[in-house]
Symmetry: C2
Subunit: 414 residues, 2 copies
C-alpha cells in the first residue's frame, strides 16, 4: 500500500516486485482476495462515507460544480455496487495461462502462446472513486500489480478505498499515489523500468499531458464520435429503432451516437419521422441543408458539429448521396470507436465493414453494444480507440501479454 512517505519510484519498484508473485498466484487465491475486498467494502461503509464527506466538503468549498460533486459522491448504494462489481470480477474466468495458440514445428519443438499478466499497470483517472476499486479488482484478477493515481478532488475517498483493497492483496500489489500536481503524474508515466502500461481515464487535457510526457506505453481509452448511417435499402422501422437507441438510451457514454447520416433516397421518408421521435425524447437536432429542408425548425449544423462528441441529448444529422459519401464522412469525422450501418444490401454491409476504420463496425445493430459486458468479456477498464494491443473493450484478457513456451528434446539450430 502506498503511503505519502514513499516516492513514486519506490511505489513502482514495490509494484514490480509484487507483480512477480501475482503472476504465479492461482485463481483461487486471487478470487479469495477479491471476496475479502468486497466484504471489507461493505463492512467499512461508514468509514468510507466519512472519507468521502471530506472530499465533498472540500469540493463544495472550491466550487467544484454540481455534476462533478455528484460523480464524487458515494452513498450506501454506490458502495454496495462497488462490492458487487468486485464479486462479479471474481466470478469471471481467469485469463492467465490461457493457451491462445499452440503448434508443433517440423523439428519437434512444441510451441504454446500463453496469456500472462502484463506486470505493473498504472491507471490514471479523474473523479469517480469507484474506478479505484474497479481498476484494482481487474488488475488483481489478471495477475497485475496496479498503481492508481486519481484526481486530487477524490483524494480521501481514493486513499481509503485503495487501502482497503491493498490490505487484502499481496504487499505492493495495489497502491494509490498521493500528492497533487502534474509532477507525480509525469514521474509515474516515465517509470519505464517498473511500469508496463498506463491506462488513462479522463478528458483531452489528461491525454495531452500523457502524449507529452509518457515514455511508458499508453492505451488511450478515448470517447467516441459514433455514427449511425441509414442506407437507401434500410428497413426504416429498424433504422428508427437503432438510431433512437444509439442516441437516447444513454447519451452520456462513449458508444452513444453523435451523428445520424441518411441516404438521400430515403431521407424524405425517414427523417421527419425519426426527428419527431427524437425531439419527443428531448433531443436537439442540428442538420445540414438537406436535413433542415426536410425537418422544419431543425437548427443548422456548423462545421464543428460533425466533430463534436456531445455526450448529451444533441444529434447532428446529415444527408448523403451515396454509401461512399457516408463512408468518407465517417472516415473524416469518426474517432475509430463504434460505427453502424442499417441496410438490407449485402454488398453495402460488407463494404461499410471493410472500409470503415473503427474498433467496432455494426450492421443492423445499435452502437451501444460496444461494451465488455455486452461482448461477453465481463467487466472492462475502458474502451480503446487506438490500434495497438487492445482495440475496443479492455477486459481481463486485454490486461494480459503473452509469452511463448517452447518445449524440446535437445533441439539446436543448424
Amino acid at each position: 500500500m502506498a503511503t505519502t512517505t514513499q516516492s513514486v519510484a519506490e511505489v513502482c519498484a514495490a509494484a514490480k516486485l509484487a507483480s512477480r508473485l501475482l503472476a504465479t498466484l492461482d485463481t483461487q487465491a486471487k478470487n479469495a482476495a477479491l471476496a475479502a475486498i468486497a466484504d471489507a467494502l461493505e463492512a467499512r461503509t461508514g468509514e468510507i462515507l466519512e472519507a468521502n464527506l471530506l472530499d465533498l466538503e472540500a469540493g463544495r468549498e472550491s466550487d467544484l460544480g454540481d455534476a462533478l460533486l455528484d460523480r464524487l459522491a458515494l452513498d450506501e448504494r454506490r458502495i454496495a455496487a462497488m462490492a458487487a462489481g468486485v464479486r462479479q470480477i471474481a466470478a469471471l474466468p481467469d485469463p492467465v495461462g490461457e493457451v491462445i495458440e499452440g503448434f508443433r514445428r517440423p523439428n519437434g519443438l512444441e510451441i504454446r502462446k500463453v496469456l500472462v499478466p502484463l506486470g505493473v499497470i498504472a491507471v490514471v483517472y479523474e473523479a469517480r472513486p469507484n474506478v479505484t476499486i474497479d481498476a484494482a479488482a481487474l488488475c488483481l484478477k489478471s495477475g497485475n500489480a496496479v498503481v492508481l493515481r486519481g484526481s486530487s478532488s477524490a483524494a480521501n475517498s481514493n486513499e481509503l478505498l485503495g487501502r482497503i483493497a491493498a490490505e487484502h492483496a499481496p504487499a505492493g500489489a495495489i497502491s494509490v499515489l498521493q500528492g497533487a500536481g502534474r509532477e507525480v503524474l509525469t514521474e509515474l508515466v516515465t517509470q519505464t523500468a517498473n511500469v508496463d502500461l498506463v491506462i488513462p481515464r479522463g478528458g483531452e487535457g489528461l491525454k495531452a499531458a500523457l502524449m507529452e510526457h509518457a515514455t511508458v506505453p499508453v492505451i488511450y481509452a478515448a470517447s467516441g464520435n459514433c455514427h449511425v448511417y441509414v442506407d437507401s435499402s434500410a428497413d426504416l422501422e429498424m433504422a428508427s429503432e437503432i438510431a433512437y437507441n444509439a442516441k437516447v438510451q444513454r447519451p452520456g457514454v462513449c458508444n452513444a451516437a453523435e451523428t445520424l447520416l441518411v441516404h438521400r433516397d430515403v431521407a424524405a421518408a425517414f427523417l421527419p419521422r425519426i426527428a419527431s421521435e427524437l425531439q419527443a425524447a428531448g433531443v436537439e437536432l442540428r442538420g445540414d441543408d438537406l436535413a433542415c429542408q426536410l425537418v422544419p425548425g431543425m437548427a443548422p449544423a456548423s462545421a464543428a458539429d460533425w466533430d463534436t462528441e456531445y455526450l448529451s441529448l444533441t444529434l447532428a444529422v446529415g444527408v448523403v448521396g451515396s454509401l461512399e459519401e457516408a463512408i468518407a464522412h465517417v472516415q473524416a469525422h469518426g474517432t475509430g470507436h463504434s460505427e453502424a450501418i442499417v441496410t438490407r444490401e449485402r454488398d453495402a454491409a460488407r463494404r461499410f465493414q471493410r472500409e470503415v476504420d473503427a474498433a467496432c463496425v455494426y450492421v443492423n445493430a445499435s452502437t451501444r453494444f460496444t461494451d465488455g459486458g455486452e461482448f461477453g468479456m465481463g467487466a472492462e477498464i475502458g474502451n480503446s480507440t487506438q490500434k495497438l494491443h487492445a482495440r475496443g473493450p479492455i477486459g481481463l484478457r486485454e490486461l494480459c501479454a503473452f509469452k511463448y513456451l517452447i518445449e524440446g528434446d535437445g533441439q539446436v539450430r543448424s
Copy 2:
C-alpha cells in the same frame, strides 16, 4: 514515392490516404506487386550497384569503418537475396481478414474479431539497405503503408531501392524519407494523426531518441541478454549441445546466449568439459568465483559482464545454488528476449517457464530458435522484447490490428 520536395507531414498524409486503399486490396493484387518488385530489383541490379557505390565512396571518405562499410555494401548476390526475400513474402499467407475469434451472443448478435492492417508504419533503421526492401515488402503484404527512414550513410541506396519498390505499389504506399538530422526523425515519430506505429531497428542511441520524442506508439525490437541455465537434473550431453549452439552457431544475433548458468551440483562434471569445447571454438569465458575455480585460466567476470550483450564470442559463466537463484539471476539481468533451462525435472521446467518473464522461455532447446522463420511465421521485421501488442518475432500478423465486425437483425440495447 517520397521526394525531397515533400515535407514529412505530407509524406505521412499521403501514406495514410494510401493505407485506405491498401487495406482493401486483395491478396492477388498485393502478391502481383511484390512479384513486380522482385523482378525490378533483379532487372535494375546495375543501377542499384551504382547508387550503392556513391554511398560506399562517401562512407570511405568519412571513415565509416570496415564493419559498417561491409553492412552497407551491396553486390549481385545480396540483391538477388533481396528479390528472393520479396518472393518468399509473397508466398506467405495473407493475414488480413483472418478471423481470430468469433461467437454469437445470447441476443443474437454475431461478433467476429478480424485482422486488419494497422495503417501506416514508420520503420526507422540503421545501415543495411536490404531493410528498405524487407520492410516495404512485409508492410505491403500486410496491407500497410510504410514510411522508411534509413541512415544517411545509405541514402543513395535506400532512395533508389525505395523508389523501385514504390513504382510497383499504389501511390503513397511506400516512401523513403530523405534529409539528414534528427529533425526528420523527430517530426516522423510525432505524426500521431497519420502514423500508427514506429518500428525502430537500431542501437541504444536510436532507442533513447525515440523514448524522448515519440508520441506515436513504438515497438522496441531490442537485442537480447539471453541465458542458458543447466539444472542439477540436466542431461549433460544435451546441455552441452544446447549451450554450444546458443553461443557459437551465430554469436552476433539477438537470440544468442550471453550467459551460461550452471547448478552447483553439476558444475564440476559439466563446466570443465563445456569450457574446453567453447574455448576450442574461440569463445572467451568470464566466470564467477566458483566457475573460475573449476576451469583453470578462466578470466573473472566483472559485475558489468552479467548485463552485457556481447554479440560476439564471449560468454559469462555463473554457478548457482538452486533453481530459485537461477531464476532470480535471469529476472535481474535478462532483457525479456529468450531464456532456456536444460532439465529432466518436470517441476523445474514448469517453474522456470512460469516465473521467467521473457518473450520466449525454452525447455531443453537452444535460444537460437526465437525467429519468425523458425516459429513458422515466415519473415520477420524484428523481435519485440516489450510486452504490448507484439512480443517475440514480429511477422505479418503482428503488423496487423484487429477490428470487431458485428452483425445484427435490429438489436438495440435495453
